[in-house]
């Protein structure tokens, strides 16, 4: 079953001129899917459309087999959402925030919540405004996970956090996946997070999906090629998604490594790309095409 299904989705913002266009998107249940894109690519817009905080201009969004708009209440009961801004009243004590949110979820697990609070070293008598950025994210994550959601939607959960907190959050996501079979869909522009835990990747650029697929398949089927400048011929260029050509050499991403190897042989270096290199290559190509 798919946890998320998007078909013919369009969202236009006439004032800014930005337009999101996702003709088709499926996210498999029980996996961690990374939603990567530069600032302003449309990641937050997509997540808000899933949460019914924004309404599509066209198309529809289904979460866990339910229509995100028409059956929004049933959907949100099964979804844990950590938005860019969680919306907690700054002056509230954490205990009050928990007490005001808890009644909406029949599956709320107080023991689980307390466990996360202890793990993060948070104190319920503290006010939300006194928490650091990392602690705010940790608290929002504890709130989102304490009602046993089937789907966790996270908007930049690791942005602006120190490496320790980031790793802790990633560990929790991996644990949740293992323990509860939860589906995690998280947007980010920190590609190293995706290298660590993502099963599937979605690349968004200027409101359009550039690339999608299983992370390992996407990375293993491509190679980052580096060679001397004089080897950069039109035949080689045709096999590259995008190339950076310098005075002495060039580097580029290829989807057809075997054909490129037939041309360049041992004269070139072939490396498995990282998520960041993959994202940069396809983003640059899209910019070149647009230009």
């Amino acid at each position: 079953m798919n946890a998320i299904e998007i078909s013919g989705l369009k969202k236009q913002f006439p004032k800014s001129g930005f337009s999101l266009d996702l003709p088709h998107l499926e996210v498999k249940e029980g996996y961690i899917t990374g939603f990567i894109g530069e600032n302003g690519a449309g990641k937050t817009t997509t997540l808000k459309l899933m949460m019914d905080l924004l309404f599509p201009t066209e198309g529809r969004v289904r979460l866990l087999g339910l229509d995100a708009h028409a059956q929004g209440v049933q959907v949100r009961r099964q979804v844990g959402y950590v938005g860019e801004t969680p919306g907690y009243l700054e002056g509230s004590r954490l205990e009050h925030l928990m007490r005001m949110t808890r009644p909406f979820y029949p599956t709320w697990d107080q023991e689980r919540f307390s466990g996360y609070i202890r793990r993060f070293g948070l104190r319920l008598e503290n006010r939300y405004k006194d928490l650091s950025k990392g602690q705010r994210k940790q608290f929002a994550l504890a709130m989102a996970l304490s009602h046993h959601p089937r789907l966790l939607l996270l908007d930049e959960p690791t942005a602006n956090l120190d490496p320790l907190v980031r790793q802790d959050i990633l560990d929790i996501l991996a644990e949740e996946l293992e323990r509860e079979g939860i589906t995690v869909f998280f947007s980010t522009h920190i590609t190293s997070d995706l290298d660590k835990i993502a099963d599937y990747l979605l690349f968004l650029h200027r409101g359009r999906l550039l690339l999608e697929g299983e992370k390992d398949a996407l990375l293993q089927s491509r190679r980052l090629v580096k060679a001397r400048r004089e080897l950069y011929t039109p035949e080689v260029a045709a096999l590259l998604v995008e190339a950076q050509v310098g005075e002495f050499g060039f580097s580029g991403m290829t989807e057809r490594p075997q054909e490129l190897y037939a041309l360049l042989g041992e004269e070139a270096v072939y490396e498995t790309p990282t998520v960041e290199e993959l994202f940069l290559a396809y983003t640059r190509r899209d910019r070149e095409v647009a230009a």
Binding site: D52, L53, L89, S92
Partner: protein, 210 residues
Amino acid sequence: MSEVTNLVRMDLWKLLSLGKSLAIYVVVLLVFLQFQMALVAPVLLLYLTTYILAYYDDQSKGGCLAGSLPVTRAQQVQAKYLLDLAVLAVALFLGTACSWLAERFGMQGGLSLEEVWLMFLAGAVFIAVAQPMLLLFGPLKARWWIFGIYFVMFGAVAALASLTAAAPGWAWTLVSGSFTPLAGVILGWAALLISYLVAVRRYGRREFTD
């Protein structure tokens, strides 16, 4: 209904969190509130639970939190109006109690028990205008409407007070000939009903872009 009461409870928790900030407003209001202005007392009380709450909530992007909860937009609007009506009921009760005490101890200048309907009308009109504005446009844009209501209400009461030492009584005498308490109550409820229907319809289409 349980979701609506949960939302009301949520707002009450928020009010509790705003304790110190609200206390400052209450002190300021008590200092400037004259007994002759008891007519608009519900409006002052409602200001705390509508505008001030919405203002602080908006600063924390509280709309996004409410929107991500498993409740409908209509339930969110219902909760706001329910809380407002509860606050209005408390204000009317306090107004009635104060009037009764004033009468019992022979104090002058308070509202008579019959004049409580004027307080209800003032409160209902305030809710009917302020709440949809707050829900649809947020407190920053809605403040001009709320200032407008204040301007009209306080202006009217100040004008009456300058003419007579017992403004509410004067107002009562002025309108009692052509305006019965029942008509005032019906007018108040009609304003609330229209306002609620507009708010439900429009808030259902509101998007959270921030």
